[in-house]
Amino acid sequence: MTRYILQRLLGMLAVMFTVVTIVFIIVRIAPGDPAAVMLGPDATPADIAALRARLGLDRPLAVQYLFFLGQLARGDLGQSIFLDMPVTQALAERAEPTFFLTLFSILIASAIALPVGILSAYKRGTLFDQAVTTFAMFAASIPSFWLGLVLIQVFAVRLGWFPVAGYGGPDAPFLTRLSHLVLPAVALGIVSSALITRFTRASMLDVLNDDYVRTARSKGMGEFRVVMKHAFKNALIPVLTVIGLTAALLVSGAVVTETVFSLPGIGNLVVSAVLRRDYPVIQGALLVIAAIYVLINFGIDMLYILIDPRVRY
């Protein structure tokens, strides 16, 4: 087991390292001088040169890369140009809405997807199954921003059940803040339930044909127990991966949804950073989001230890 953990850990670090390198490259291919962009149009060449020196931009790329790594090692993501604060702080301030948005979306998505997926696999080929498959595909076809606009129109503007936008004021109690998340979470939840449903269905279909399910039936076991205990637990392994992936991807589905709902989350930050040419923030957000993805994946790998005895030794 320790070996498995160690392997995953090493794998995670390797991916993380590559991620850092990719981010470094992406930000470096941006045209123009970052220093000039940071200082704005009024800057004198001397100012720019000074900043270049301070940021290490005048050194060879390899040195810059090492410098960048060193900075990261110290947990330093740099300074936002626009927001006048460290990128880490900017990200930390946005973490809450994004976290809860992701959490709720994934809960909503799973709550829809798991039962529906299981049932439709169990009743494969029936009208219900076809309806589910079609619906899942339909849900995956809706642009999340469009769905967001529709939800705002109906539930916030016409019916007034939920707030239209934002994340509450300075002293908004937790519940009020959460009420801001309902519509975006539903929008994201519906869209991402599509993928999980299809995956659950496929995975269940696979498992239901497995020999041990037949063995369970041959014991004289009731169908519900066969499906839930013997089949679903096995199907859960790939499904968990997808849920994890979806959760990680939601951090970015959030990019669009947070913008539509004006939620001050990380996704929103990224979009405004792009519009503001705030490269340190873009870079930091990319890193953090990729790190979250990698971490979630690692977490799921660890979850397997609980579910699947085969990885335990």
């Binding site: 494969r124 044909n209 020999d211 014991k219 076991m221 085969r310």
Partner: protein, 351 residues
């Protein structure tokens, strides 16, 4: 559940089954129907399993052996359906039921308790996520109101019965921690844990090595002697049949073409297919001359017909050296061809 089993059932079927017969499939038809097309996987299977005896069902791949056994257990996968025929089974209390039409709920009480089954693939037939102990205990507690503790004791005894060393320790192991032979033993332990009257074994040794196969066959023979259950043993290996069976049913293209005591069958097959099969298997003593020169084998020409398009008449006719025009029009019935010997051939006397 016990209540269901012991309910006095009006038994008009009782007389149809001789006392010494546990199970009889009667002209069983199981088809897989997809749209217009029907795969007639089992198309008139008649076979009889006698109490305390082993009936081996042999046949080439696709001849419908597994579908027959799954029909008996009523575990057919989705498009499969028992189209007609009866599967008469004598419960322990003596009542006779028709498994083909029994309500699902009663069927569930029979599975595992009355009829248990083991499968070909020991590697995949156990759930990888539960310990073998859990899987055996689950079976016991499904049918008998015992505590976990008791169930565990029973499970351990079952493992001991199938000669698994360090049974107590093995209870807490997962299937992946065991070899194929070990797992097949666990499957047997699982199947036997509720003392079934009939054990259906669908090619239980095909996936195993010869040395392990020998161990398992040995074990099954011993268990039958000790416990006295009946066995329906499915295989395609005539060598295995010779070792384990009391009686043999030979299947071809969804039908039983011959059923006979094992000695009679090997000594004098009464169906051209059985005869052909026996001739196919290389036999160094028969197929080599004294100076070591090899003689050619005598294969059956052609291929097994597709279950989607069975020939009319005798399904074996296209490959049969004895076929006459009649064979291609008319389907022969299963007729007596000797003491306890049935054959589905118009011309069995010629053999």
């Amino acid at each position: 559940m016990a209540a269901v089993l012991s309910a006095p059932s009006p038994s008009p079927l009782a007389e149809t089954l001789p006392e010494d017969v546990v199970l009889r499939a009667d002209d069983l038809h199981t088809h897989f129907i997809v749209g217009e097309r029907a795969a007639k996987s089992v198309d008139g299977v008649t076979l009889t399993v006698r109490r305390g005896q082993t009936l081996a069902v042999v046949g080439e791949s696709g001849s419908g052996k597994s579908v027959t056994s799954l029909s008996i257990m009523r575990l057919l996968a989705y498009p499969g359906r028992i189209v007609s025929g009866r599967i008469l089974y004598r419960l322990r209390d003596g009542t006779v039921v028709d498994l083909a039409s029994l309500p699902e709920k009663r069927m569930r009480a029979i599975r595992g308790k009355e009829i248990a089954m083991i499968f070909q693939e020991p590697m995949t037939s156990l759930n990888p996520l539960f310990t073998v102990g859990d899987q055996i205990m689950e079976m016991i507690r499904l049918h008998e109101p015992v505590s976990r503790q008791e169930a565990r004791q029973r499970a351990r005894r079952m493992l001991e019965l199938v000669e698994i060393p360090a049974a107590e320790k093995r209870l807490d192991q997962y299937p992946h921690e065991m070899s194929g032979g070990m797992r097949q033993r666990v499957m047997i332990a699982l199947a036997l844990s509720c003392n079934p009257a009939l054990l259906i074994a669908d090619e239980p040794t095909t996936a195993l090595d010869v040395t392990i196969q020998a161990q398992i066959l040995d074990l099954m023979r011993r268990l039958q002697r000790d416990i006295g259950m009946s066995i329906l043993f499915i295989t395609h290996n005539l060598g295995v049949v010779a070792e384990i069976a009391h009686e043999v049913a030979v299947m071809y293209a969804g039908r039983v073409v011959e059923q006979a005591p094992v000695g009679a069958l090997f000594a004098r097959p009464r169906h051209p297919y059985t005869k052909g099969l026996l001739a196919c298997i290389p036999n160094p003593e028969r197929d080599r001359t004294a100076d070591g020169k090899r003689l050619m084998l005598k294969p059956i020409p052609g291929n097994v017909p597709s279950v989607l398009a069975l020939p009319p008449g005798c399904t074996y006719a296209p490959r049969c050296p004895l076929a006459e025009p009649r064979c291609e029009r008319e389907a022969p019935g299963l007729v007596p061809a000797g003491p306890g010997h049935l054959s589905r051939c118009f011309r069995h006397e010629l053999l």
